[in-house]
Structure formats: structure tokens, C-alpha cells
């Protein structure tokens, strides 16, 4: 007997993450070398860990207010003003969430009504499409292309807009492509957002990993700022993935509606983690610089090496992923990754796990030590010698 008929049919038909499947295969094997992880390889800086420990020692382990500690909301607003030149009010415009993940869920459920369309540039982080569907929305995929450096072009965006469009999801720098949007790039799509009265949900979790130029937040455009919902968090910038602290920045009306879902489902983000986040946001700019430099160096290294061994790879301008085409092998993304895992014990993530537009690509994370990257390149070179 199964319960498939009885459960929520929307959930039933949501595809399980392609990454999960891959993880299951990799876990059964021994001595796997992996470039498959979507989190930084630094241990959280000690002063931040120490702040979490201190909070526990002092008994700061009660619930906080739903929106999170005011000191943390203030810190987040100061940070957005300091680093991205955007003003928000800590009382009205901020909710501290359980990672960026909860923020994505809360924001999408707050905005989407059944039948609404949400434009999703793909390849995209795996959670967006699933959560849009869970919220009753319809995913309208816009393929991002390598020739456009995986940017959202105004032409592609405009074509996807209909009178049922509720929102567009922007994730720049992006997982899995490492693509970014500059101020000029955004300037071309802002009028489309304004004309059509749609919301821009911008997941800026990789903002601090923008190479060669400063990150531009679409919230910097005053003419649409009320329609922009910023999602961000502490995971990538301060290497705090396991703390689960993120946040939403938005117009006060949206924040107060989001807060209804947040208060009934979550109550508040983990209290000691919030204290750690206060330390990070107020005193962690130096940590960001150190990690940034190290990621940029490894990006340079891996792009050069991948091109040397014959995988055409463009130099991504953000995040800690490269997204090379595997067209030269004639294999599908999944075949490529399965054979690679089987024959070389190397785990990468197939591009199609991030949407159909990712077919023909693989995601490689360089959040690994140089030794690990070297070993993986050797394995990949060995593999390519047979499949090219």
C-alpha cells in the first residue's frame, strides 16, 4: 500500500532534487573526491564562533521577537548601506530568517496566488522552482545562455512576461553559473519590472563574491525599490552555513505579511546563531576580504586548468562555481557525472539538476583546497582522455 493518492498532489508531483539523487550514489562509494559542495570550505571565523558560544554560556537561549533581534536587524541595515548603498529601516523592513532558504519560502508563499506566474532564469538554484510550485505558482523558465555570460537579457525577460506574471527571481551572482548582473545590465531590465508591475525577488547570497567589480543590488534602483524583495544571509559571506541565518529586506507591507508566515511556522531564527550573526555583520568585513581573495585565486586557477585539459570554461564573475560545457564529450550531464563518479571517483553536479537549460554543462565548486582541486583536475583529465 502507498499513500501517494492521499497526500497533497502538488507535493507528490514535485521532482526530487537531482542533487539529492547524486548525493545518494556518491555516499555509497569510498574515497570519493568531490567538487560538488555548495558551501565555503572555511571554518567560521573564530570571533564569530566565540560569539555563539558566549551567547549559550550567558543563557541567551530564549526565543527572540519574530523578526529577530533588533541589534541584528540594525546590523543588517548598516551593512546594506555600507556595502551596497541601499537604505532599509530595521524596525519596518527586516525579518531574520532560518537561512536564505526560509526566506525564499516565506517570500514566495507571501507573494504567489494560485495561477500566478513566476519568471525563473535557469539554470537556477534547485529550491526556487519547487517552492514556486508548492506555493501554487507556475514556473516560467527563461534560459540563461553562456554566450550572454549567463546574464538575464532584456529580450529574453520581456518575452517571458505575461499579464499573469507576479514576480521574477534574480540570483546574481548565481548558483550554479557564477553569472553576475552589473548596474548597466540591471538598468535594461528595471523598466520592464516597472512597466509590468511585477516583483523582483533578488537572492543576493553570493553578493560578497563578485569579482572585478562591486556587487550591484537591484534594490539600488529607487524607481522600483518598493517592488524589490531582497533575500540574503550569512552562509556564504562568513562561511556560516550550519548556523542557518538569513534575512528578508522589503517594503514594510510585504515584511509584515511575510512575518505572518514566519511567526506561525518558525517563531524566530535560532537565538545563539543570531548573536553569532551580530558579531559577523558588525565585525566581519575583514573575514569577507580574506575569503574573497582566496576564492578569486582558486577561480583563476581552476578556469585555467579546465581550459588546459580541454573543457571550455568561461571566467565566471561571481560565486564559487564554474559551469563548463561538456559538449566535447557528447555525453549528457547525468551520464557524464555518473561515469565520472563510477570510473574516477570524482563527484561533480550535473547541470540539468538546475533546470533543463543546464543540460550539457556540469557544476564544479572550487570551494576546496588547491590540493583537492589538483587531484580532481587530474581525474577529470584522465576521464576526458577517454571520452573526447
Amino acid at each position: 500500500m502507498t499513500f501517494e493518492e492521499e497526500i497533497n498532489q502538488t507535493i507528490r508531483y514535485i521532482k526530487p532534487s537531482g542533487i539529492r539523487k547524486f548525493f545518494d550514489i556518491a555516499s555509497t562509494k569510498k574515497d570519493v573526491v568531490s567538487l560538488g559542495v555548495g558551501e565555503p570550505d572555511f571554518i567560521t571565523p573564530w570571533h564569530i564562533r566565540e560569539a555563539a558560544i558566549h551567547a549559550i554560556e550567558k543563557g541567551r537561549t530564549f526565543y527572540t521577537g519574530n523578526k529577530g533581534l533588533l541589534q541584528l536587524r540594525q546590523g543588517v541595515c548598516d551593512y546594506y548601506r555600507r556595502r551596497f548603498n541601499v537604505e532599509y529601516d530595521p524596525e519596518e523592513n527586516v525579518i531574520i530568517t532560518v537561512g536564505g532558504s526560509e526566506a525564499i519560502d516565506v517570500v514566495l508563499r507571501t507573494l504567489i496566488q494560485p495561477g500566478d506566474e513566476v519568471i525563473l532564469p535557469t539554470p537556477a538554484y534547485v529550491a526556487y522552482a519547487a517552492i514556486i510550485e508548492m506555493a501554487g505558482g507556475k514556473v516560467i523558465e527563461v534560459p540563461l545562455e553562456e554566450k550572454d555570460e549567463f546574464k538575464l537579457t532584456p529580450e529574453a525577460f520581456r518575452k517571458a512576461v505575461s499579464d499573469r506574471t507576479k514576480a521574477v527571481i534574480l540570483n546574481f551572482p548565481g548558483n550554479p553559473t557564477g553569472g553576475i548582473m552589473s548596474e548597466e545590465d540591471y538598468a535594461k531590465i528595471v523598466p520592464i519590472i516597472k512597466e509590468n508591475g511585477i516583483f523582483a525577488i533578488t537572492d543576493e547570497i553570493y553578493a560578497e563574491l563578485t569579482y572585478g567589480q562591486k556587487h550591484c543590488s537591484i534594490a539600488q534602483f529607487d524607481e522600483i525599490k518598493d517592488r524589490v524583495v531582497v533575500i540574503n544571509g550569512f552562509s556564504k559571506a562568513y562561511s556560516m552555513t550550519g548556523y542557518r541565518v538569513g534575512y528578508i529586506l522589503a517594503h514594510k507591507d510585504i515584511v509584515s505579511m511575510c512575518n505572518k508566515i514566519h511567526q506561525y511556522t518558525i517563531m524566530c531564527a535560532t537565538t545563539p546563531s543570531q548573536y553569532a550573526a551580530i558579531e559577523a555583520v558588525n565585525n566581519g568585513d575583514g573575514d569577507i576580504e580574506v575569503m574573497f581573495e582566496s576564492f578569486r585565486q582558486r577561480r583563476n586557477y581552476i578556469v585555467k586548468e579546465l581550459n588546459r585539459i580541454g573543457l571550455k570554461t568561461h571566467m565566471p564573475q561571481g560565486a564559487f562555481y564554474v559551469f563548463p560545457s561538456i559538449a566535447c564529450t557528447g555525453l549528457s550531464s547525468e551520464d557524464f557525472c555518473e561515469k565520472l563518479l563510477e570510473e574516477e571517483n570524482l563527484a561533480l553536479v550535473p547541470g540539468n539538476a538546475f533546470g533543463d537549460a543546464g543540460e550539457g554543462y556540469v557544476r564544479i565548486s572550487y570551494a576546496y583546497s588547491l590540493q583537492e582541486i589538483k587531484l580532481a583536475i587530474e581525474k577529470l583529465e584522465h576521464f576526458l582522455s577517454r571520452y573526447r
Partner: protein, 160 residues
């Protein structure tokens, strides 16, 4: 240049071709920069950080504060250079506070270090007094935590 120095300060064993790839430069450029930095003594030397206790070797280290009077014209430099010449002196700093110099001295045994202080350091012209503190245990050297029992968290093999 600062980025190159930052890299090799942490690990002197990078190969030139890796440094070139990391910094997005040509190998020849890196070679040339390293040669120049060595020539200018910006790179003053290359060392290996060794946990001697693990190597089962007898070694005694001490921190020594030295009081002295500066010399007219030469200030502290002349006496510092004199002290620095002793091979037993591992590091030497001019410091603020109650002493003028702080040294780290390495020897095989306590007797050897004591003998250095009594017979070489203290009688040096200009030295007024010394205070010797023997190092009992090393926890961190040149930015490297020697604790090999610590367990860092493990990441999953594949995550979104």
C-alpha cells in the same frame, strides 16, 4: 605583489606555475617578481614550521627581556645588531614597555640557554639586565595552530 606575498607567507612551497595560475599571471612574471623581492630582501628567507616536540627532539626555547641604555647617535641599533649576531637568538624585537628588547633564544637544554644568557648576553656592552622566561609548551607558531587533535566539521559530499 601583496597578494603574491600573502600566498607565499602562508605556504612557501607553492610552485611558480601554481602561483601564476592563482594570480592569473604568466610564470615568467612570477619568477621575475620573486627574484626581485628576494634581491630587495622583501623576502628575507624561507623557513619550515616544525613542531620539535613531535619530532622527539630536545629543544629549549626562552623569551628574554633585555634592558639596556641607548648609545648616543646609534640609538639601539648598534647593540641590537650585536645581539642579533648570536646564532642562539631566533628573533629579536625592540619593544615598548618595561624592557628595551625581547628575544627568543633557542638551545638544546636549559643549561645551554642559561649559559648563553650568563656568558654572552648579559655581559654585552650596554646591557643592564635580563629577565629569562622559559617556554614550557608551544601552541601556535607563526600562525600555525599545533593542535592536531582538533576535529573540524566535515562537509557533505554533494550539496545544492
Amino acid at each position: 605583489m601583496k597578494e603574491l606575498l600573502n600566498l607565499i607567507e602562508k605556504d612557501a612551497r607553492y610552485e611558480t606555475k601554481d602561483l601564476a595560475a592563482l594570480l592569473n599571471e604568466e610564470e615568467g612574471q612570477i619568477d621575475e617578481q620573486l627574484r626581485q623581492l628576494e634581491k630587495d630582501h622583501v623576502i628575507a628567507g624561507y623557513h619550515t614550521i616544525i613542531n620539535w616536540e613531535k619530532a622527539d627532539q630536545e629543544i629549549t626555547k626562552a623569551i628574554i627581556f633585555v634592558n639596556c641604555v641607548p648609545e648616543r647617535e646609534a640609538g639601539y641599533d648598534k647593540i641590537a645588531r650585536k645581539i642579533a649576531k648570536y646564532p642562539e637568538v631566533e628573533t629579536l624585537y625592540l619593544i615598548s614597555g618595561k624592557a628595551e628588547f625581547m628575544l627568543q633564544v633557542n638551545g638544546r637544554t636549559m643549561r645551554e640557554v642559561s649559559s648563553f644568557v650568563a656568558h654572552k648576553l648579559a655581559p654585552t656592552e650596554g646591557v643592564n639586565g635580563t629577565e629569562t622566561m622559559f617556554i614550557l609548551k608551544e601552541y601556535k607558531i607563526s600562525g600555525v595552530d599545533l593542535d592536531d587533535t582538533r576535529e573540524d566539521g566535515e562537509r557533505l559530499l554533494v550539496t545544492p
